[in-house]
């Protein structure tokens, strides 16, 4: 198991390098940051000077080499937009996103599993049909629209939650639920089909033969098996969430890393984009590894490979 984890980490590191190169090149191809860093009335001379100051006049490989040498020592440059060290800025905003993605994930997996499994055990019932309708809606509605509707209904009209910002636990709820809808729907659907598959197995019948209550048959004997494919999906979704928080963070003024990346991209703030993408990529890789290990925990056959 340890060798397996180490091997995956090594591959992950390679991925990180690859990602950093792609982002590095893409940003510089995307356009001239001096347009955004200088006021409208700046002259061409000003722009040339700024480009030199930022090191943008050197050839690309040289720029990349400088970046890597500095990065390995922890220096990802200074943000041109926020005027502070890029990595410090990214790490300061990371916890907010982790909090949001974390809660959203918990909500998604709880609702997804519970509704999917119950849907499977009550197949054909009104509940089942309701869940399946919910799944379709959850997969179809755009996050942007849902977020705004939530704000209008639950924050403005009903006043149950704040409209935006970060502060107490209550601030976290609307954005987390908004983010959770889509993955919850996907996991519900998968849980349902996985559970249906499992419920037909002989060992389920045997569990009943042993005299287990139906609840124990489903939740103890069945769930462990149905959870295996769901765990894989869940891991992917959690990693995705970290990258996809942008829309929710913008709508709810949540000071996370997603909004930071978008703002940095619009401002052509190379240092911040690079630092942030590296962090997100690293998070993705670590989470994938965690999923693989969890998979091993759930399914004994995987452990012995």
């Amino acid at each position: 198991m340890l060798r397996y984890a180490l091997k995956r980490l090594g591959v992950g590191l390679l991925c990180l390098v690859g990602v950093s190169i792609i982002i590095f090149v893409a940003m510089r191809l995307a356009g001239d940051p001096t347009l955004l860093l200088l006021p409208d009335d700046a002259t061409e001379q000003d722009r040339i000077e700024l480009r030199q100051e930022l090191g943008l006049d050197k050839p690309l490989p040289v720029q990349y080499a400088i970046f890597v040498t500095d990065a390995v020592q922890g220096d990802f440059g200074t943000s041109t937009r926020w005027k502070m060290p890029a990595m410090e800025l990214v790490l300061a905003r990371l916890p907010a996103t982790l909090q949001l993605a974390g809660l959203a994930f918990l909500i998604a997996i709880t609702i997804g599993l519970l509704s999917g499994v119950t849907s499977a055990t009550t197949r054909g019932s009104v509940f089942d049909q309701g869940v399946r309708l919910g799944v379709t809606l959850g997969l179809a509605v755009p996050v942007f629209w849902v977020g705004l509707i939530f704000i209008m209904v639950f924050a403005v009209d009903l006043g149950w939650f704040p409209t935006s910002g970060r502060g107490s636990f209550a601030h976290l709820i609307l954005p987390a639920v908004t983010m959770a809808l889509n993955p919850a729907a996907a996991m519900s659907r998968l849980s349902r089909s996985a559970m249906l598959g499992v419920l037909g197995a002989d060992y389920i019948k045997m569990a009943r033969v042993k005299g287990n209550s139906e609840a124990r048959v489903v939740w103890k004997h069945g769930l462990r098996n149905a959870a295996i494919p769901v765990a894989t999906l869940a891991g992917i979704q959690l990693a995705n969430m970290i990258g996809n928080t942008v829309v929710v963070e913008t709508i709810f003024a949540w000071p996370g890393i997603g909004k930071l990346i978008i703002d940095a991209i619009f401002a052509r703030d190379f240092a911040v984009v690079q630092a942030a993408i590296c962090v997100v990529a690293a998070a993705y890789i670590i989470l994938n590894l965690a999923v693989d290990l969890t998979y091993g925990l759930l399914d004994p056959q995987i452990r012995y490979d």
Binding site: D41, A170, F266
Partner: protein, 511 residues
């Protein structure tokens, strides 16, 4: 029947019961919560360079020559000043009773420090002080500005550089100076939570009138719909950059109100590149035709909810305002006639560029409306929308000879420190945001720029404006208005400035 106010109060109670007020900042008559769009790029007033910075910074830092809410330059840190005859020297007497938030006394040395640092660190300050040669310090409270050429924008720019304390800088060093800025304003900088808010606190030793509100928190809410919601929900007391579509709603309800400020800049205009003789709009008649083709009143009322206005060129309070200059009337028949005269009786095809992102609201909708009007007179228009940076690069490239370009652009006519400034920026050949080339115009503007006397300058400006009006290198659709929405218990008088709609807490109070 439950009024909206009762409903909001009960909502607030429910909200409070669930333990929701933003941590550490209780809402009361002494504290105000303001929602602004984006967060500032810096807290340091000598580094500030772009619009978002000034929303917060101008509460705790000041210029030498402040502007009051009526828009006039009045004494402040600079108590008295006199220009020389030729306009190249400005003698200034400073107030002797000013103290920085850090406790240091304000002297002429701080002025020199602030100007030098501003020119070094802020491209905006540097641009505005191109004609400043040096500052001569006579004593602690007397100094003289020496200019290489008379600068009519210096005073309207309020002196261009914000004032910081030299002794404070020497004492705490660069990093602390930037993170914990100290100014001379009625409020002092309190804290900055990255991505969330900036807080300021009343400064009781302020040299001027101590303002009514004790504390202010500026929260960053980039999504305009969420900003509106936060006001509706009672979480904020005032929001800036209220979207136009929300204005009617707020005005209709007794609990809220809006205050509109005619900032007038930018002037959203249709701008033509005249570099390519092959383009139909190379012919002045075509440009004039298109100017007549658009019903800007309909756009303002239909798309922009009737909020902004359209000026022919300058606003009434500006130097050189020409009351006889009429904006292009909406006349589609005349448009078609002109097109026919120019040799396009069946119209032609063109692309209209516009920005999808950026801080101008309703841009795509305005572009679509304009395109529809063009289509109505036979000009088949393809809309090309791009992200702001790409769009801006394209605009810059339109200066090149041979380029074909028409755009809905954030142009500049009214609302600048002095009309000569915008004329130079947007219309002078080689101007940083100009894609136009008219030597006659440049000559008149050069002369006006050097004329300190307002009346004489005004005449020259009128001439220059007429030239532009005749030649139609661009035509205006509407002038920017800043809209602030607030609870009806809040009184706020915005400052008639230019470019940046400010949110000054000193001009706010609770009824």
């Amino acid at each position: 029947m439950q009024t909206r106010r009762e409903f909001l109060v009960s909502s607030a109670l429910v909200t409070a019961a669930v333990g929701l007020p933003r941590i550490g900042f209780a809402q009361s008559q002494d504290n105000i919560t303001i929602a602004i769009g984006d967060e500032p790029t810096t807290s340091d007033q000598t580094v500030a360079w772009t619009g978002v910075d000034y929303n917060t910074i101008e509460n705790y830092a000041e210029y030498l020559f402040p502007r009051n809410t009526d828009g006039e330059i009045v004494p402040g840190l600079a108590a008295e000043w006199t220009y020389s005859e030729d306009g190249k020297t400005l003698d200034v007497t400073l107030r002797d009773d000013v103290v920085f938030h850090s406790g240091d006394k304000f002297t002429a040395q701080d002025v020199v420090f602030s100007y030098e640092r501003g020119i070094d660190k802020s491209a905006t300050v540097k641009n505005r002080l191109r004609s400043l040669d040096n500052i001569e310090v006579k004593d602690d409270y007397h100094l003289t500005f020496h200019f290489s050429a008379p600068d009519v924008t210096f005073l309207p720019n309020r002196g261009a550089a914000m004032i910081a304390s030299n002794s404070y800088f020497d004492r705490v060093g660069e990093e602390e100076f930037s993170r914990q800025p100290s100014g001379t304003g009625p409020y002092k900088f309190s804290s900055y939570a990255v991505g969330e808010y900036v807080e300021v606190e009343r400064f009781d030793e302020y040299w001027g009138a101590v303002p009514p509100i004790a504390k202010a928190r500026f929260i960053f809410v980039p999504e305009e719909t969420t900003r509106v919601a936060s006001l509706q929900a009672g979480e904020t007391d005032l929001i800036m950059a209220c979207p136009y579509y929300a204005v009617k709603g707020f005005d209709a309800v007794g609990d809220f109100k809006t205050v509109k400020l005619p900032v007038n800049h930018p002037t959203m205009s249709i701008v033509f590149s005249t570099q390519n003789p092959e383009d139909p709009w190379h012919d002045r008649r075509v440009r004039l035709a298109l100017a007549h083709a658009v019903d800007t009143d309909a756009i303002i009322n239909g798309v922009l909810f009737g909020v902004p206005q359209r000026l022919a060129f300058l606003a009434p309070y500006e130097v050189g305002y020409d009351p006889d200059l009429e904006p292009y009337p909406y006349d589609p028949e005349k448009a078609k006639q002109l097109l026919a005269e120019a040799g396009y009786p069946d119209g032609f095809d063109m692309e209209l560029n516009y920005a999808i992102t950026g801080r101008v609201q309703m841009n795509p909708q305005v572009a679509e409306a304009v395109a529809a009007y063009f289509e109505a007179v036979g000009v088949r228009t393809k809309l090309v929308g791009e992200e702001w940076e790409a769009y801006r690069s394209k605009y810059n490239a339109a200066k090149e000879p041979g380029s074909s370009y028409v755009a809905l652009f954030t142009h500049g006519r009214a609302g600048s420190p002095d009309p000569t400034y915008n004329l130079g920026l947007f219309f002078r050949a080689g101007g940083p945001i100009s894609i136009y080339n008219n030597p006659e115009l440049d000559a008149i503007n050069a002369e006006a720029t050097a004329t300190m006397d307002e009346e004489m300058r005004g005449e020259l400006i009128k001439k220059a404006v007429r030239l532009i009006h005749e030649d139609v290198p661009s035509f205006p659709i509407y002038n920017n208005f800043a809209v602030y929405a607030m609870k009806s218990s809040v009184n706020f008088t915005p400052t008639q400035g230019f470019n940046f709609d400010l949110v000054l807490v000193k001009d706010m109070s609770f009824a």
